[in-house]
């Protein structure tokens, strides 16, 4: 295969990954790295570097649209970014210390867990108006637009959310994914922030988190322009199309298909990682 053919195929695969990622809200990174390593036989370190770059592109592109709607809470996001960026930095340093097989094994486990999360019916915690002293001191409580008007909410369990965010950052730095699912888990389940505010704020944070590990990746030579170029342009195009057709698509059916794909890829990554083939 020459470079033109390779670039065209990786671009097409990235468009599909970006499209599926934005339609299901799970992000393109989780399918990209398995796609590049399992099908294109790319070394996992190059794959993780390229994926991380595409994560920044989609997060920043989508956040530009979300911030104007008034759902995302920049104070919650900025405070928690202290945890995600430190985690991302450590995750990226860890990635440069361990072998590709270890990264592939952890990746496989994360994929299997994501498939489980995506397939499970979502339990939504009710948010409330009872203030928590720490969250109030940190000025995190906010309001968001609803059909009936502005709705106020109070944030809870800041230390638990902060710790989970550190973990989300470390996974992002180690695996080159946005780890939006863990971020939403931390905000929606632990801190009891309304779901819509959690998802949009998470999207806002993903780009900054990824930038924290991207610097380390760049300095260590993990970001290859020839590979990152079709991945970034493809994922960006796919996610832009995805957000346009999001309203019409049957997301429940799509999420099911996507979790089946993730389950398969997760098993493959785990097997290859444990067998030392990656």
């Amino acid at each position: 295969m020459n470079i033109v053919e390779f670039t065209a195929l990786v671009w097409a695969g990235s468009v599909i990954a970006g499209l599926l990622g934005s339609l299901t809200g799970l992000g393109g990174g989780v399918v990209l790295v398995p796609l590049l390593t399992l099908f294109f036989k790319v070394d996992i370190r190059y794959a993780v570097g390229a994926s991380l770059v595409s994560v920044i592109a989609t997060s920043s592109g989508a956040a530009a649209a979300y911030v104007k709607e008034g759902f995302s809470n920049i104070r919650i996001g900025m405070f928690l970014e202290i945890a995600t960026t430190i985690g991302a930095l450590l995750g990226a340093f860890l990635a440069t210390r361990v072998s590709g097989s270890v990264i592939a094994t952890i990746f496989g486990l994360v994929l299997l867990y994501s498939a489980y999360l995506a397939g499970r019916p979502r339990v939504r915690h009710a948010f409330d108006d009872i203030p928590d002293p720490l969250a109030t001191h940190l000025k995190m409580n906010g309001s968001f637009p609803e059909a009936k008007g502005m709705r106020h909410y109070c944030v809870h369990r800041v230390p638990a959310g902060f710790s989970l965010m550190f973990g989300a950052g470390a996974l992002s730095g180690l695996l080159g994914i946005g780890s939006g699912a863990v971020k939403v888990l931390a905000m929606d389940q632990a801190m009891r922030i309304p779901f819509k505010v959690s998802t949009t704020t998470s999207n806002f944070m993903i780009g900054v988190t990824a930038a924290a590990s991207a610097g380390v990746y760049l300095n260590r030579g993990y970001i290859d322009p020839g590979l990152a170029m079709p991945v970034m342009l493809g994922v960006l195009a796919g996610s832009l199309v995805g957000t346009r057709i999001l309203v019409k698509a049957e997301t429940k059916w799509l999420r099911l298909v996507f979790s089946a794909i993730i389950l398969l890829l997760g098993g493959q990554m785990l097997y290859n990682g444990l067998a030392g083939r990656i």
Binding site: M1, N2, I3, V4, T7, F40, K41, V42, D43, Y46, V53, I56, A57, S59, S60, G61, A63, A64, A65, V67, K68, G70, S72, I74, R75, M78, F79, E81, I82, T85, I86, L89, A92, F93, G100, L138, K139, G207, V208, A211, A212, S213, A214, G215, V216, L218, N219, R220, G221, Y222, I223, P225, G226, L227, A228, M229, P230, M232, L233, L236
Partner: protein, 129 residues
């Protein structure tokens, strides 16, 4: 427009939204330009990403990337575009410090400064660690 007469969260977020969009579009254009040069010159060469060698040192650091891009090398131009992309969230964080400071929120200006230091350390300082 009343809300544009003061520094409010909404105004800061509007500016940040535009900043992010501009950054992504601009970097995508630079990456695409580099892709055209790279594919035109090296398109017929064989591909090899099976084993990890790491990028040459000029594609790992800002000064080397800028030098390669100015020399009109395809890979250098692509890497410059990727660097601009990585810099977009960093610029967003830097701008947020001013936003919080103008709103008189010193606590959050401080939090944001911590995030900016971590990002700058990753981009500029991590190669010496």
């Amino acid at each position: 427009m009343h809300r544009f007469t003061r520094w409010t969260d909404q105004r800061v977020e509007d500016i940040i939204g535009n900043l992010l969009r501009t950054g992504v579009i601009f970097s995508a254009v630079v990456v695409f330009t580099g892709a055209v040069v790279y594919l035109a010159r090296h398109g017929q060469a064989p591909v090899d990403y099976r084993s990890f060698r790491g990028e040459p040192s000029d594609l790992r650091h800002i000064s080397g990337i800028v030098r390669d891009a100015l020399a009109f090398q395809g890979r250098g131009i692509i890497q410059l575009g990727l660097l601009l992309l990585i810099a977009t969230p960093v610029a967003r964080v830097a701008f947020s410090i001013f936003g919080f400071a103008f709103e008189g929120d010193r606590m959050y200006a401080g939090f944001t400064l911590i995030v900016l230091m971590i990002l700058l350390y990753s981009l500029l300082g991590s190669s010496f660690a």
